[in-house]
């Protein structure tokens, strides 16, 4: 009896000790409102932890983080940004901690780093959007997009957008598309923007009928009444997963691991759905306007390969499009 009690007490103590606490410094490229929602949901689940958010574009976040690590003083505990190849680059420089979250079992292994340094948190598919008043008979594939008359398409430039750089790597490796697809677009007066937001603006404003864009922007805009609609091209869609990773040497490893656990849990995934993103877990329903995970055809390539040729691919793109 006494022994059981002692065991229970020590267990309870152990639990209390294991309860993460303190400050967690999050670097993220999530939009302001989403970053605030993520922070609030996590703090509600782990009341002992206070999250400090630094939010900016993926490029600014990573530039800042790399500078800090170069100076030997990284100011982040967890990173939540853009795409897997970005994390591959950080991993190659030995900047990420390894972790084996129990929740990862519920997620397709394709979205998780086999070495356990980063984990996808949601699905961001790149698809085709169009202006509903300018297009009456929408196209259905990437191939048809490149065959449209000159001056029809707008897309983000890989020189400035991380997601676009990812797509470049994936599409040029796809046998049906390859560099020939980009060459066709280059010959059709394609309009390049700095980011995905500008693609939405250009199509919704009627400047160009078609755009290549990350899914949630046009889907949200359409729900709000913008004259836009989306097409999931028949060849499949490249997908980035906004992975989360733990910074090597973080002073608050416990809270960082709890953060990863939370984002991958069913509860955390429902938070992502609430913000209008497609979840990674099959057991969580996607929000209105999205297909279910099983209906999605993916275009993919190994993140490490993509990371290896990223610079060369971008250079070739810049030359091809005369940037």
């Amino acid at each position: 009896m006494l022994r059981t009690l002692a065991l229970l007490v020590s267990l309870a103590l152990g639990l209390a000790l294991a309860q993460p606490s303190g400050t967690l410094r999050l670097y993220t490229s999530q939009p302001d409102a989403d970053a605030a929602t993520t922070k609030a949901a996590f703090e509600a689940a782990y009341p002992g932890v206070t999250v400090e958010v630094f939010r900016s574009g993926t490029e600014q976040v990573i530039a800042r983080f790399l500078l800090e690590t170069e100076a030997g003083a990284p100011q982040a505990d967890v990173l939540l940004v853009a795409d897997a190849p970005t994390f591959e680059l950080l991993k190659a420089r030995g900047l990420l901690e390894t972790y084996a979250p129990a929740e990862a079992a519920a997620i397709d292994a394709a979205y998780v780093d086999p070495d356990g340094t980063y984990f996808g948190t949601k699905i961001l598919a790149t698809l085709v959007m169009y202006h509903t008043a300018l297009v009456t008979d929408p196209i259905g594939s990437w191939a048809e997009l490149a065959a449209l008359p000159a001056g029809s398409v707008v897309m983000p430039s890989p020189s400035y957008s991380g997601a676009a750089a990812y797509n470049l790597g994936v599409k040029t490796r796809h046998p049906g598309l390859g560099w020939a697809w980009y060459e066709a677009l280059a010959g059709a007066d394609v309009f390049l923007t700095q980011g995905n937001g500008a693609v939405l603006r250009t199509v919704a404003g009627g400047e160009r009928p078609y755009g290549v864009v990350v899914d949630f922007l046009p889907i949200r805009a359409a729900l709000e009444g913008s004259p836009v609609a989306v097409i999931y091209p028949s060849e499949g869609v490249p997908v980035i997963t906004e992975p989360v990773g733990i910074v090597k040497g973080t002073p608050n490893l416990e809270a960082a691991q709890a953060f990863v656990d939370f984002l991958l849990s069913a509860e955390g995934q429902r938070v992502a759905v609430g913000m209008g993103y497609m979840p990674l877990r099959a057991d969580v329903e996607p929000p209105a306007g999205f297909p279910s995970l099983s209906d999605l055809t993916l275009l993919s390539a190994a993140p490490a390969d993509l990371a290896a040729t990223r610079d060369a691919d971008k250079e070739r793109f810049a030359t091809l499009f005369g940037e």
Binding site: A71, S157, G197
Partner: protein, 549 residues
């Protein structure tokens, strides 16, 4: 005083620049710079658009100053206010407002196309022409204020004498005013050139789609590319940007030495009557400045902020206040960012103006030996914001002063603002110092006044109006600053410009527009308060300028 100035410049300029140079002197980066055709093209483009817009902004600014400050044009007070609007709007937002107005699917473009049944838009804002146009609009308030400050010092009797001798308005403008105003025209052109050279927001929105690369866009591209050596390449490019800045500076120093001295004028300026030209001229200026340049783009922006979603036709059912509700109620960081921006901009304005006043005096005494000092002041302004921000990060991480942690706090932003905007404040103040008759100080000295006394009782009262204008300029610009904040703002250290940037980048154009409208409204309110206070102060002071006039 000199020691203090040097200490300040060490932290706002010398040390960050040194760190940048250190980073740039990397054989690989220099090799890249030498071989890369992109870099060469970017340099050419940047020089072209910056000089074109500087010339245009100065010419148009001078014409407008003459129209509004010398002629009895109806409604000039309102026009003056409208001209200053681009000053308070972040360049990114300015570009978006103009795209909504004169872009391919803009209100004006559509109206023109409908009216003449054109199959394609008759013009494009994307590419070189659009960039020059917007950089000119962006720089116009700067040139207007700088030249206006100069005109206020031209003695009335010179113009009156010329008029008595039978000179017409054009002759007065070209023979009397233009030569007297030359230092101010140059200062205006130089400020406009540097502002255009370092501007990222406008070429990013209008250049990238047309594949028209400029130095700041290329720098940004290199900084944010994960390519190893990207920082070094960006730093090398940034050093390159210092070359035209340096050339402009030397030119200015050389020309300044030949400038004539003007005293501050206490009498009210003379205004020429226009007779029957009065109304047509006013209508023309109102149409261009009020309609094409202000009501159009900013009306489009207002409409965007009120429209339910982007691209929706702005009919009555589609208009509501939801984006304002979001910004004012749900955007948790908004009150904090508003406080930060007010304090940072106010602090930076006060510090920069006072420091510029002292610096201007020192530079005047130093003559040509001050060139290096001047360069230290000007470089942080000429560099694109992201590069200067990087240099500051390199400097303060780890901190050069043990125990003092600036990185990640609003204080580093404050330092960045002071460093960046010091050149901005120094331009009008430096010009005013150079115009000041040395006899003024000499007379005070002969009467037995010491340096401080001469400063306090003779020089400061004369300089005060220019200092206030300079502080105002800095405040207006810093209040909506984006580029520096994008990298330096941090957790709980947000600024308004940074919030606008975040919304815009996330594709929330309508919300970004709503926040911009709020931003302009706050500034408008502050301007109104300032104007009211000034009127009050004047009414109460019996010996004020009004009494003399």
């Amino acid at each position: 005083m000199l020691a203090g100035l040097l200490a300040l410049l060490t932290f706002t300029s010398a040390l960050p620049l040194f760190r940048l140079v250190e980073r740039a002197l990397d054989p690989q980066a220099l090799g890249w710079l030498w071989e890369n055709p992109q870099a060469r093209r970017a340099i050419q483009h940047s020089l072209r658009v910056s000089s074109a817009s500087a010339v245009l902004a100065t010419a148009i600014g001078a014409a407008l100053v003459f129209l509004l400050e010398r002629l009895a044009l109806p409604g000039r007070r309102g026009l003056r206010l409208l001209l200053l609007v681009p000053l308070v709007v972040p360049p990114q937002i300015l570009a978006i407002a103009w795209l909504g107005w004169a872009g391919p699917a803009g209100l004006l473009t559509r109206a023109v196309r409908d009216a003449w049944a054109l199959p394609r838009p008759p013009w494009t804002l994307y590419g070189e022409g659009g960039i020059v146009l917007l950089l000119t609009v962006f720089a116009l308030p700067i040139t207007y204020l700088t030249i206006g400050a100069g005109l206020a010092r031209v003695p009335r009797h010179l113009e009156e004498a010329a008029r008595l001798d039978g000179a017409n308005l054009v002759a007065v403008g070209s023979r009397i005013l233009a030569p007297l105003l030359r230092p101010y025209l140059l200062a205006a052109a130089m400020l406009a050139f540097l502002a255009a050279l370092g501007n990222f927001g406008i070429p990013a929105l209008l250049g990238i789609p047309a594949r028209f690369l400029t130095l700041p866009t290329l720098v940004y591209q290199r900084v944010t590319s994960f390519a190893s050596g990207g920082f070094a390449q960006a730093a090398a490019l940034a050093l390159l940007m210092a070359v035209p800045a340096f050339a402009v500076l030397l030119l200015q120093v050389r020309l300044n030495r030949r400038a004539a001295a003007l005293e501050s004028q206490l009498e009210a300026p003379h205004r020429y009557r226009l007779g029957r030209w009065r109304w047509p001229l006013a209508a023309g200026v109102w149409l261009v400045v009020g309609g094409l340049m202000t009501a159009g783009p900013f009306g489009s922006m207002l409409l965007t902020s009120l429209t339910r979603a982007y691209g929706v036709r702005p009919t009555l059912d589609n208009l509501d206040l939801r984006h304002y509700a979001f910004v004012l109620q749900r955007l948790e960081a908004f009150p904090r960012a508003l406080t930060h921006s007010l304090l940072l901009a106010g602090g930076a304005a006060a510090i920069a103006a006072v420091v510029a006043l002292a610096l201007g005096y020192v530079l005047l005494r130093f003559g040509q030996r001050g060139t290096f000092l001047q360069l230290l002041v000007d470089l942080p302004y000429a560099l694109p914001g992201i590069v200067f921000a990087l240099a500051l990060v390199l400097t303060w991480l780890p901190s050069p002063i043990p125990g003092l942690r600036l990185y990640g706090t609003v204080w580093l932003l404050g330092l960045a603002y002071v460093g960046h905007y010091l050149a901005f404040a120094l331009q009008p103040i430096g010009a005013a110092w150079r115009q000041l008759d040395p006899a003024l100080e000499e007379a005070a000295r002969i009467d037995g006044a010491g340096t401080l006394q001469a400063m306090r009782f003779v020089l400061l009262p004369v300089m005060a109006p220019t200092v206030v204008v300079a502080a105002l300029l800095v405040f207006l610009n810093a209040f909506s600053e984006i580029s520096l904040s994008a990298l330096l703002a941090g957790s709980r250290a947000e600024t308004l410009g940074w919030l606008v940037f975040g919304l815009e980048q996330a594709g929330d154009t309508n919300r970004a527009a709503a926040l911009s409208v709020v931003l302009v409204a706050v500034l408008g309110l502050l301007g109104l308060v300032a104007a009211t206070l000034r009127r009050w102060a004047r009414r109460d002071a019996p010996g004020g300028p009004e009494a003399i006039a």
